[in-house]
Subunit: 352 residues, 2 copies
DNA sequence: ACAATTTATGAAATCGATTTCAAAATATTA
DNA sequence: TAATATTTTGAAATCGATTTCATAAATTGT
């Protein structure tokens, strides 16, 4: 496309018979300009359909009013909601977001960081990929004096702001709810424990069982599954055993759905003979039959908090204090049909 | 944060005892540089952790290698998938995406376009907000010599590339399927008809009925509902009438879900006494009970096609030909429980 | 009315990569 | 070997907004 010359401040200046520097100041409401002139300049700018050239300003000022976001997958409910939250706040402050997907891949994550640095972004908000076990690339962000906010899946060893759910407590409360409903042999299907979120959820599960003096179910084996099909396979196996679990706490709603499907196949009644509690509170959870109890992560709120942290705390702090702190977003336990039974099935207690 | 001076090509140049211009060329593999020197320069760049300054290059070259995307809502499945598709292709070409939400709001859409122009984006991909009935802001994109690709919700009157589903045909096929299943009084719950997609779906519905010589059900009234609750209200009303519909074709899966819930409340059996066909094929549609038949829009493919259109067609065409064409992405009819009954309930035919 | 102060305005430098054009170095040919 | 062609290399201009600093204009005080 043959670019016709863009209108610049100098074009405005020439038209108005003043200097480019004055135009720049007028457009920015600089105190050394009069109200009358500002009006005049802005009027002319509108008239000629002048568009501020962000690249030029960036180059001069060294910042871009852009926040870079890196997530494993844009179109996963959780991340899509976080991003929506960030965008909502950013647009208020006239900031923009550039989004990158790591696709759970460390190499892509590194590339994303690299290009965001090149773009002069003012801040990078990241949720780590499943493959990320090193942190050199995160340190590179700091080395380039770019603010860093990690959310959800984070590396605590890197000095940065952190926003995450109270995964352990949420899991603890969820499992305690299952216990109150009279479930006794509660199994867990989790995610890879080298990710903080899954480790925390598992830990919350364990602590709830320990507190209730329940035995840990099948503790020797880590049941790892986040997808529906994988979880279904595991559930089918466990539910066919002699000492089968009477409840499942999973680290995703997809996995919980797999459990429900397995139970249906085996004609096990939910919630009477099997309790199911998911994590994430996907949209479908309140629709499916039986409704799935789950733990809502307030995903959009995570995005809003991250953005507010940037605008209200980081940008305000001219003086560089410690660039780290952790903000916890509380999860909400959504009790629905799949885990709610009024009367405990029977009153037997596993020997302690 | 007190920015320490960034490493520039001149720093590399000084270290190597050569000029900045040579460094620039070497980094870009310009033919006037030797392989040996390129190696040397790149080596030093790595050593000093040099980061290319995109703003500076943008300013000089007048393009940004950024594609701007404007959608009503980032975290709606359809749009999230489209964006994921675009990002996937862009990252291959080392392009980036800036995402804006219009939130179904014309004013925000205009603002988004304005800032994307200011950012020097190379292309804008947009799906229009519900409020958008004017096109001056779209023309502004063209006036600024920025390539324009509209997808899904488009304004055909603006000269641009267009990518959309075969909404009319998909609706036609879907309704024809309902007719084949023996449903006779098929109602439609659609979206606002000033949006092309909803007008097209309604038209497909009408044509299928006309072809089958069915009477249009309740044609005088436009049933507009995209959300679950609104659709449920409408469905409850219609299903309580004497001459109630025996099938619903809705323009969203959410609405279809509302219909299912209404049917459950009224103890109407699906699919025996009521057929339901949605549109969009949301993730939950294959989970809920009964499984919801729907029309899959290949949303990610729309994004992939849009991005490929940009890279393979638009960028290649140095010579500006007509900057418009329409690409159709075929929908896929997903027949599931909610519309599938082997034997038609009874063999009566509405008088013609 | 004149000096002192304040306010309004513009010239020029700057940010960092790209690119043009000319000069220097090298290779090729007669 | 001298003349010509080719390849390397760098100086300087450029993109457009911002910002510093100096100067011009207006205002104030005496």
């Amino acid at each position: 496309m043959n670019k016709t010359k863009r209108i610049t401040i100098y074009d405005l200046a020439k038209e108005l018979g003043i200097s480019g520097s004055y135009v720049s100041r007028a457009l920015n409401d600089h105190p050394t300009t009069s109200e009358k002139m500002r009006e005049m300049v802005k009027q002319k700018a509108k008239e000629l359909n002048y568009k501020h050239n962000t690249s030029a300003a960036n180059l001069r000022q060294g910042n871009s009013k852009i926040i870079g976001i890196i997530v494993p997958k844009i179109n996963e409910t959780f991340f899509a909601n976080v991003i929506a939250g960030i965008e909502e706040i950013c647009s208020k402050y006239k900031y923009h977001i550039i989004i990158c997907q790591s696709e759970e891949n460390l190499k892509k994550e590194k590339e994303a960081i690299d290009t965001l640095i090149k773009q002069n972004v003012d801040c990078i908000m990241i949720s780590l990929s499943q493959e990320t076990k090193t942190n050199a690339h995160l340190l590179d962000i700091l080395a380039n004096k770019i603010h860093l906010i990690q959310f959800d899946r984070v590396d605590e060893s890197v000095e940065s702001y952190i926003i995450k759910n109270d995964n352990k407590i949420a899991a603890f409360n969820g499992v305690e709810h299952l216990i109150k409903m009279g479930y006794e042999r509660i199994a867990h299907i989790g995610g890879p424990v080298y990710l903080n979120i899954y480790a925390d959820r598992k830990q919350g599960y364990r602590e709830a069982l320990l507190k209730a003096k329940h035995t840990l179910f099948d503790d020797e084996i880590d049941n790892i599954a986040l997808s529906r099909t994988d979880a279904k396979t595991i559930a089918l196996k466990l539910l066919s055993k002699q000492d089968r679990p009477d409840a499942f706490f999973t680290s995703s709603d997809q996995a919980a759905l797999g459990v429900i499907q397995a139970a249906k196949e085996l004609n096990i009644s939910i919630p009477k003979d099997l309790g199911v509690l998911g994590f994430q509170d996907e949209e479908f959870s309140s629709f499916i039959s039986p409704n799935l109890s789950s733990i809502n992560q307030q995903s959009k709120q995570i995005g809003i908090s991250a953005a507010n942290l940037f605008f209200k705390t980081i940008l305000k702090n001219k003086v560089k204090t410690t660039e780290s702190s952790t903000e916890i977003i509380n999860c909400e336990l959504m009790i629905r049909e799949s885990s709610y039974r009024k009367i405990a099935k029977k009153f037997t207690k596993t020997p302690e």
